[in-house]
Symmetry: C2
Subunit: 329 residues, 2 copies
DNA sequence: TATATTTGCGTAATCGGTTACGCAAATATA
DNA sequence: TATATTTGCGTAACCGATTACGCAAATATA
């Protein structure tokens, strides 16, 4: 079945193209009966307004892009996943579609970034949600500004304070540190992938008096690195009695290795993870973790976008980290 | 800075619009020097061809949509996440963008579906990847056909054999059943959310001689339901010595409850999960699971799409389930 | 009833590209 | 050198919608 365009369709049902167009758009005056008739006929004959033509003549794009830095390694990225799901639920009934735009770190980034740049600047997106965390994120914000596309950034980004849903890793880490001193721990360790300064600093602050005892271990961000960290710690600094891991996957690896070696958690070593991904509670012992409320953050960011698209103003939002207590600390 | 359109841009740099257009498109004859000159100038002046106009005059869409049924409950959907990540890596350097289209089950589905329908039929998408598993998926395939958009479906869908990347849950479950009889288990149970016939049937087949002893428990698909299942089983059928769970989250819940009650796994009860999500190995004991190779499936599906978009033919692909042995069985 | 206002719709310009067609210049062939 | 072919580019007709403008009919106001 050949596809109808507006000219054919309108002439078949005996009205003008303008009227057909008005039937499908809120704008313009049209008799309610005519509108219903046209909509009905469109259903019968299978007429669907070409979306590109619409976008061309009256610029709009109901597509929002979610941009985020790709994790190194092949592990599935639960972090982003939880944000994405939050974003999606907020967008669900808004008529806004979601496009996902991962970008790799450094090496290939330039190419990918350039692709996105062109895409956005040529009008492909109506809104952008940018997850901070790499140099590329900053570039993307520039692109958003240049293209005059409404955007919000998730997380910390220097220089950007206007459109954000932010959280403070440092504050979260501080919570963990304080908890450790409060529960009488003496020899803390921090297991971090590619070092996140805020986390480390916050942790140090929270650790207060015992902060001079801190050991830092950094390898990668994956399960295996958590396990390695445990083994090295065991070998080089057996007195360690509490650790903060930069993410939950790392914590899972750490716990696993600890169990294999016979260490008990939290008695011998208390461990706290970061992000509070939903599998944290599946672990044994169930993992205590600094919750970033990722789902909530995603939701908020998307709602902000929705407001911007409605022409409303928004105020930056700050989401406080919360320490979720389970069994590992 | 006002945005340039092709007419302005071309007249500023002293060529015709046709030449500018040719510079950016593979089609058409153009002197290599002219092309380079134009591209350079475009960079300087910040000219970006309007994407809607391009799509209008020469129909193409470099957007692929990933459609999938939404999980009941608010849990993050790791299943889809792993597929999505596979899809993304395959699409990464292809220039094809990915849009995600979750659709809720039943209740609100009609509205959402209608939105997607209109969107696709009006030319919004260049390709569709449809995850089977609900009545809506079938509808979406119809939409794809009607809109003449290349598509591939992931999973089983009756009537659709041409464009698929499929797997057989039944085959996977059979593996689990066989393993249980081989290892001398006698009283099997199946923990399933909304019952998946194939899984149950396959499990029964694999169970062979001990299949008449099978108990079936079905509640929901979440962690809590797995835990509940354990408790009920313990109360009503304490002799149970092996279970297959319809997914890994369920299995995680089951294991957790088992540990709390003091039962040991796998000695007292062997448990096998389904999907082999990446957190399976984080659990204690590490969860044995029927792997669907979701990441691989996503990759394949996307590659099929790429082939179709290149005008090549594809042959349906079948991905065999594999039982991944870890510590829980 | 005469005039002013509103409503409903059609005509045609416009959005910003792509590309068929044709022509002149450059190159190849005889 | 004369002719045939190829190359490079410009002109203008599309692609399929939206919407400013204007007119006639319907309704409101005097």
């Amino acid at each position: 079945m050949k596809k109808l365009n507006i000219k054919e369709f309108s002439s078949i049902i005996g009205v003008s193209t303008a009227t057909v167009s008005r039937a499908f758009n809120a704008s313009g005056r049209i008799n309610e009966k005519t509108r219903r008739y046209i909509i009905e006929k469109a259903g019968e004959l299978g007429y669907h307004a070409n979306i590109h033509a619409r976008n061309l003549s009256s610029p709009r794009s109901n597509i929002a892009g979610l941009f985020y830095p790709l994790l190194a390694g092949e592990q599935p990225d639960y972090f982003i996943n939880e944000i994405q799901q939050g974003v999606q639920s907020a967008l669900m009934d808004s008529g806004i579609l979601l496009q996902v735009h991962p970008f790799p770190a450094r090496a290939d980034a330039e190419l990918t970034l350039e692709t996105y740049r062109t895409y956005v600047l040529s009008g492909g997106l109506g809104a952008m949600i940018i997850v901070a965390g790499s140099a590329e994120s900053v570039e993307l914000v520039k692109v958003a500004r240049e293209a005059e596309v409404p955007y919000v950034v998730i997380g910390h980004m220097s220089g950007e304070t206007r459109y954000t849903v932010s959280f403070d890793n440092g504050q979260g880490a501080r919570l963990a540190g304080k908890f450790f001193v409060r529960t009488g721990r003496r020899f803390p360790a921090y297991i971090g992938g590619h070092l996140d300064k805020r986390k480390k600093l916050g942790f140090l602050e929270g650790l207060g008096e015992i902060s001079d005892k801190l050991t830092i271990h950094s390898g990668g961000d994956a399960f295996i690195h958590g396990a390695n960290a445990f083994r090295e710690l065991r070998a080089n600094r057996p007195e360690t009695d509490c650790v903060l891991c930069a993410n939950d996957v790392l914590a899972a690896g750490f716990i696993k290795a600890a169990q294999e070696s016979g260490a008990t958690i939290p008695e011998d070593i208390a461990v706290i993870g970061f992000d509070d991904l939903s599998f944290a509670r599946y672990l044994t012992p169930a993992l205590s973790s600094v919750s970033l409320k990722l789902n909530h953050i995603g939701l908020s960011a998307a709602r902000q976008i929705l407001k911007l698209l409605d022409g409303n103003d928004i105020t930056p939002e700050f989401v406080e980290c919360e320490l979720i207590f389970r069994d590992s600390a």
